[in-house]
């Protein structure tokens, strides 16, 4: 009996020791990413692709380089189903970090959740990354210090599309007298850019036809009949989910050519074009990152992560698709911010406040893009205290019936024109909330 007790005691001591050792090992060197992912529900296609790419990139950094400067990356998921309340619950659950590893930034990939956690993450000093979407006026970092609509905000999106149409017509001056229709999703997201399109139509003298498609968008007969009567030169498709393939199919039925329809950033994936079948052939859309697997970073992920059986995607065929690559791009930006912040604050797990400094100093030129193996995948980007978007450029791609083909170099948005509008809005917000904007000239 005594012997038994002894063994038991030994085992307990051993277990405690191991637990303590593992706890300190984790707390010593990990940086945590809370993932508010969505893998079920109506938007699962976007969620699984995006978070699959993001997780695979973090895994890749861990396996290839042993983390960022020896600080391992760790993450855990919480399902939001794209529902705002669930997203808030997940945010609150995960924001404290994991086993002592501090959280670096939150990436909800949902406009609604981003809006609901915007003030919380500012109060908690945790960067909120809304890549390619989010609140446009959060581009003004002096009012929104912790919010980053990286690469492309909604205003830049439409401005770049109009610039492209201008190029195609032989100069912006040729837009005068042209007719452009915009078919938008009847939701906050869909309506966000209407004032900017009106402004641009006044500036360049083109005629704007705005047509709303009620959610979810599986009935568009009357809208496309209007388009047939009005005969616009271009149709901008500002869709979401099922609305996109239905738009393409109805366009074909009413005889509108697919190669004069330009899809926006949430109408640009394989999942948007492929279900429309032959009707999608020739469809143009914008993208901040081409699909494809030829980039060195994706090849690296394939070799190190996927081939080792550690990939996150349930369907391996989706490797290199638009949503997946957006996840990879998001991973590159997050990891780079951690890397930059480490250069300033030391090679250890960092707080959200320190990582924010890294985001504000993100700088990708061609040289750096080459180093991370993402030249052509990611646009040249420079952020600052005042500018939390950084890029504002898109490329255009065309669906050939099977896959996307990139058909243009980077087309820049007219960010000078948009900046005063963004500042008007952000200052209005600051006044409502009683925020004193930071003085960006004093930030280092």
């Amino acid at each position: 009996m005594k012997n038994h007790l002894h063994t038991l005691k030994g085992a307990v001591v051993l277990a405690l020791g191991l637990a303590a050792a593992s706890a300190t090992a984790q707390a010593g060197g990990e940086q945590y990413f809370p993932l508010q992912s969505y893998r079920v529900g109506p938007y699962a296609a976007g969620g699984t692709g995006f978070f699959g790419g993001f997780i695979d990139y973090l895994q890749y950094v861990n396996l290839k380089e042993g983390g960022v400067n020896g600080v391992k990356l760790t993450w855990s998921e919480c399902e939001t189903e794209y529902v705002v309340e669930k997203g808030v619950e997940c945010y609150e659950r995960l924001k404290k970090g994991l086993n002592g590893a501090p959280a670096a930034a939150t990436n909800p990939l949902s406009v609604g959740i981003a809006y609901a956690t915007l003030e919380r993450s500012t109060a908690d000093k945790l960067p909120l990354i809304t890549i390619n979407h989010g609140r446009t006026d959060s581009t003004d970092g002096s009012v929104f210090p912790y919010v980053f609509p990286l690469q492309l905000n909604p205003y830049s999106e439409v401005s770049a599309i109009i610039n492209y149409i201008g190029q195609k017509s032989g100069g912006l001056s040729k837009l005068k007298g042209k007719k452009i229709a915009v078919l938008y999703h009847g939701s906050p997201y869909g309506k966000e850019t209407n004032p900017i399109l009106e402004l641009l139509s006044k500036k360049y003298g083109f005629q704007l036809v705005s047509l709303e498609v009620p959610h979810p968008g599986n009935e568009q007969q009357s809208q496309w009949l209007t388009i047939r009567q009005q005969k616009p030169d271009w149709v901008i498709l500002r869709g979401w989910g099922v609305m996109n393939p239905v738009a393409l199919k109805t366009a074909q039925k009413t005889g509108y050519p697919a190669d004069h329809i330009i899809g926006n950033i949430w109408s640009n994936s394989e999942e948007d074009a492929a279900p429309a079948g032959a009707a999608a052939k020739g469809f143009i859309s914008i993208t901040t990152h081409p699909s494809g697997t030829q980039f060195p970073v994706l090849q690296g992920i394939k070799k190190t992560v996927l081939d080792a059986g550690k990939g996150n995607l349930a369907d391996a065929k989706r490797f290199g698709t638009v949503y997946y690559n957006l996840g990879v791009v998001n991973g590159i930006l997050n990891v780079e911010a951690v890397r930059l912040a480490q250069a300033r604050f030391g090679k250890k797990p960092l707080t959200g406040e320190q990582v924010r400094w890294g985001f504000e100093h993100l700088h990708f030129d061609d040289k750096r893009l080459k180093e991370v193996g993402a030249l052509g995948l990611l646009q040249p980007l420079q952020l600052s205290c005042a500018d939390h978007e950084g890029g504002g450029a898109v490329r255009f791609q065309q669906w050939d019936g099977q896959q996307w083909k990139v058909i243009s170099p980077w087309v820049q948005a007219d960010r000078k024109l948009l900046r005063p509008i963004i500042e008007d809005s952000s200052h209005k917000y600051a006044k409502e909330k009683g925020i004193t904007p930071r003085d960006c000239s004093k930030e280092s």
Binding site: E92, Y115, E192
Partner: protein
């Protein structure tokens, strides 16, 4: 043994009219209040306030609103979320139309506007009943959501229809922190519950129940049907409107019309079905069930099963478990959680003796 009513007599008329007749009940209530106001704000953390307690309180209040209408007055409604939306957007808009309007007053004003809208959509209840009334309240649900999305005026010119909360200042105090938002929510929810608990025992409450059980008979004994039904709609919508304002201001801090869609109405309806129709306590129990169970399931599956199953399947599994639990529960106790509670209470009176 501890929960006995023997020896407790009412010696005055006022005592006889008390909501809680036994000292044990009153002591338990005071202990709960002490816990909610005194202890929880000290020991709670951000997660408990923001993700559990505040939504639990707000949904309890929404459940109460619908319970007065459906559980007590017998009028079926699927428009709860619409009245919540009216409350939220009205308090937001009034804050801008009348600068300097105190926050608490704007909650009340939001409730009053919601009550007015509720009366309008309650008018058909005079002619139609049951499922047909359900359809007409469904119209309220779709109409309000459409209206708020269509006209940017309601969201103060915000083209995308999103409203954000004003600073939560009451008499100079900032209630913006998680604990502050919890206390603010609690201080708004509690008086309304006290009011409702007394209301359902008043003559109006008894009229409601008479109308619910058989409105022809109620009319015969001289209860004014028109007034009774419309008051039910007005008071129910008032409470839902306040709940909507709290949802937007103290819980999420921002809301879009789509946040008050049909699934929110169903959620409120499930709260009162699970909690117990025609019960005040049932609203708390139902809301706790709806708020807590998915979170518990998600945390459990995250810690026990992660790595065993792919993340997506894990989520679907949780939904299945949640659905099965609801079905099992409704088979076992169709009258809701409040009925179970009553059963336990009856046993407690005899404990340690058996029935």
């Amino acid at each position: 043994m501890f929960y006995q009513e023997s020896g407790q007599f009412s010696t005055r008329y006022r005592q006889d009219g008390r909501a809680l007749r036994l000292w044990q009940q009153r002591a338990a209530l005071w202990a709960l209040l002490l816990l909610a106001f005194g202890l929880l704000p000290v020991i709670g953390n951000d997660y408990w306030f923001s993700a559990i307690l505040i939504p639990f309180l707000v949904l309890s209040l929404a459940g109460l609103g619908l319970n007065l209408l459906t559980g007590y007055a017998g009028q079926l409604s699927l428009g709860s979320a619409a009245f919540m939306a009216v409350g939220a957007f009205a308090s937001y808009k009034l804050q801008f139309l009348l600068p300097g309007l105190p926050l608490l007053l704007s909650f009340v004003a939001g409730g009053v506007v919601a009550a007015a809208v509720g009366v309008v959509f309650g008018l058909p209840s005079l002619r139609i009943k049951g499922f047909y009334l359900l359809v007409s309240t469904l119209a309220a649900q779709f109409f309000v959501e459409w209206l708020l999305t269509k006209f940017a005026w309601f969201s103060n010119g915000n083209e995308s229809g999103v409203i954000t909360a004003p600073p939560l200042l009451v008499a100079g105090h900032d209630f913006g922190s998680p604990a502050g938002r919890y206390l603010l929510t609690l201080s708004v929810v509690l008086p309304l519950f006290v009011l409702a608990a007394n209301l359902v025992r008043s003559s109006l409450g008894r009229n409601w129940m008479a109308v619910r059980d058989m409105d022809t008979a109620a009319a015969v004994i001289g209860i004014p049907i028109l007034r009774t039904k419309l008051l039910a709609f007005a008071i129910s919508s008032f409470i839902l409107g306040v709940a909507g304002s709290l949802w937007a201001f103290t819980y999420l801090g921002t809301v879009e019309p789509h946040g008050f869609d049909l699934s929110r109405s169903f959620q409120v309806l499930f709260i009162i079905i699970l909690g117990g129709m025609g019960s005040i306590l049932g609203n708390f129990l139902g809301a706790a069930f709806i708020v807590l169970l998915p979170i518990v399931l998600s945390i459990l599956s995250g810690s026990l099963l992660s790595g065993v199953l792919p993340a997506g399947q894990l989520e679907n599994l949780q939904k299945i478990i949640f659905g099965v639990l609801i079905i099992l529960f409704l088979i076992k106790e169709p009258d809701g959680l409040a009925r179970l509670w009553q059963g336990w209470r009856a046993r407690a009176r005899l404990w340690p003796l058996r029935f």
